[in-house]
């Protein structure tokens, strides 16, 4: 008790008003968004790949299959597009910043706990929203998909929140692999998982075995939610929501444990 007393008497400067603490969280999120929105090497692949795929398969080639194909693939490629800011924005940047010493520097500074991760999370959510908006514009303008306002809202929310399980997965991989090794590893997760969840081609077109193991992948569950959002799927959604929650929590815990132990 004596020590604490003397410290408070030494200086009251370490007392931080709540408004300034909240301000620090906001600054962190703002900086994180700014720095990635300004980095074309990060934003371009995230935007271009889903947009290109959707243009090719969802708009140009789907014309013969009727408007439902464009609607179905809006959900699937939306999920495909949402996965990458989570996996790469979170995982790769964490791996690079652990390697480059930025994370160490931030840990030495009096940054409020979690501000760093929260900032990255908000950045990934913002990037995911941008991707969904881009695909929505293409679907309605080029693919002649008609969506109600509530469907648009549901898909945006699915995208913005649906990025979180992939943030957690990316973060876990980012704590396992330092630096430049992380992007390659994440590609090895991203691309096969997208394919096996039926994001590129609808699941019924894939081999029976892949259809059976699809519920193993978080992207499969998010796709079910996105399909429901655009009105392509009926039935209960709760199991999918709960599964995604579980996956997010599990990877977050694993990652937090590794970060605490290894920095």
């Amino acid at each position: 008790m004596e020590t604490v007393m003397s410290v408070t008497e030494l200086g009251t400067t370490s007392v931080m008003p709540r408004s300034r603490v909240i301000g620090a969280y906001l600054e962190e999120a703002r900086s994180e968004c700014l720095r990635y929105m300004r980095a074309p090497s990060f934003m371009l692949p995230i935007m271009l790949f889903p947009a290109m795929f959707y243009l090719l398969f969802g708009v140009l080639m789907a014309k013969s299959n009727g408007p439902d194909a464009a609607r179905y693939l809006l959900a699937s490629y939306g999920v495909f597009g949402v996965m990458s800011p989570g996996l790469f924005g979170f995982g790769v940047s964490l791996a690079l910043e652990r390697d480059g010493g930025l994370l160490t520097f931030k840990r030495a500074l009096p940054m409020p706990p979690g501000a760093y991760l929260l900032g990255k999370m908000l950045m990934a959510m913002a990037a995911a929203t941008v991707v969904i908006l881009l695909l929505l514009a293409m679907a309605t303008l080029l693919g002649h998909v008609t969506l109600s306002l509530s469907q648009v809202g549901a898909l945006l929310i699915t995208g913005a929140l649906g990025v979180l399980p992939f943030c957690a997965l990316g973060m876990f991989v980012g704590t396992l692999i330092k630096g430049q090794g992380a992007p390659g590893m994440l590609q090895l997760i991203y691309l096969p998982m997208s394919f096996m969840s039926g994001l590129w081609f609808p699941l019924p077109m894939l081999p029976k075995f892949l259809q059976q193991i699809a519920p193993l992948w978080p992207s499969y569950h998010l796709d079910q939610l996105a399909l429901a959002a655009v009105g392509m799927r009926q039935g209960t959604l709760l199991p999918h929501v709960l599964t995604l929650f579980g996956i997010t929590a599990a990877f977050l815990l694993l990652a937090a444990r590794r970060l605490r132990r290894h920095g």
């Binding site: 004596e2 020590t3 604490v4 003397s6 410290v7 008497e9 030494l10 200086g11 400067t13 370490s14 007392v15 931080m16 008003p17 300034r20 301000g23 620090a24 600054e27 962190e28 703002r30 900086s31 700014l34 720095r35 990635y36 300004r38 980095a39 910043e97 480059g100 010493g101 930025l102 160490t104 520097f105 840990r107 030495a108 500074l109 009096p110 940054m111 409020p112 706990p113 920095g263």
Partner: protein, 314 residues
Amino acid sequence: MPHSPDSHTRDPIARLGGAVKRYGPLTALDGADLCLQRGELLALLGPNGAGKTTAIGLLLGLIRADAGAVELFGQDPQRIEARRRIGVMLQNAELPATLRVGELLRLTASYYPAPRTLAETAELAGIADLLKRPYAKLSGGQQRRVQFALALCGRPELLFLDEPTVGMDIEARQKLWAAIRQLLAEGCAVLLTTHYLEEAEALADRVCVMAHGRMIHEGTVDELRARVAMKRIRCLSALPVDTVRSWPEVGQVHRDGERLHIGTAEAEVVVRRLLDADRHLCELEVHRAGLAEAFTELTRDADEASDTDQREAA
């Protein structure tokens, strides 16, 4: 621990007490003691691998000690309240490349309860002309100055500077020294690690020399110099090296062209002999040993002691 109210000023603001840190079979810190008082500049010196980085890492709360005490303002450094009173400049931190200098300052200042204004920080660190530039577009020396600005922007009571002037030219280095002196005058304490002994000589109140994970010497710069009684004599003389070497007071001697370099503990005696022996001797200079010699001698002694320990252990 009972103490009277007026003893606060003498409480250390940062302290290692017998701190031990092991990485597997390697002992990085082997019972290190360190005490930093309010408003002083302590230079932490030592060869690579001596444990300086580990000592700093403990005080910043980046790693935990396996044994011993680690305190920052009387608290565990992992508590954010303690770290709100420090500023940090690390050796290698790659800051976000696409953020502008002003944005980096704004972000870092937001972590502190009562930071300096942007203008005040920029003025102190001499980066007022860089505020609008993206960090990645700066030269190495400019980036170091920005990192220094980030360290002082929170109005810290204690500044950790880890090799702050690496990669700076002489002018930039002297500007940074001037800024450090200004902070010291404001009552800020500094823990400085450096490879440049003249930096420690120029700035430090006290010097702490580390080797093999322990503090092998602590004292003022003058005390450290005094540990080494050796003085250096230089002169232009035709005297043969062997003759000079045969004098009992002479430690080492070597010739560099016409110039003789002599190391001795009794400069006065040797100078008298030199002047007697060579009437044509000129350009006579006598120097006290610099910090560099003192440092080399200290760490060599520590190496020898450590070798003996190991042999005895084996």
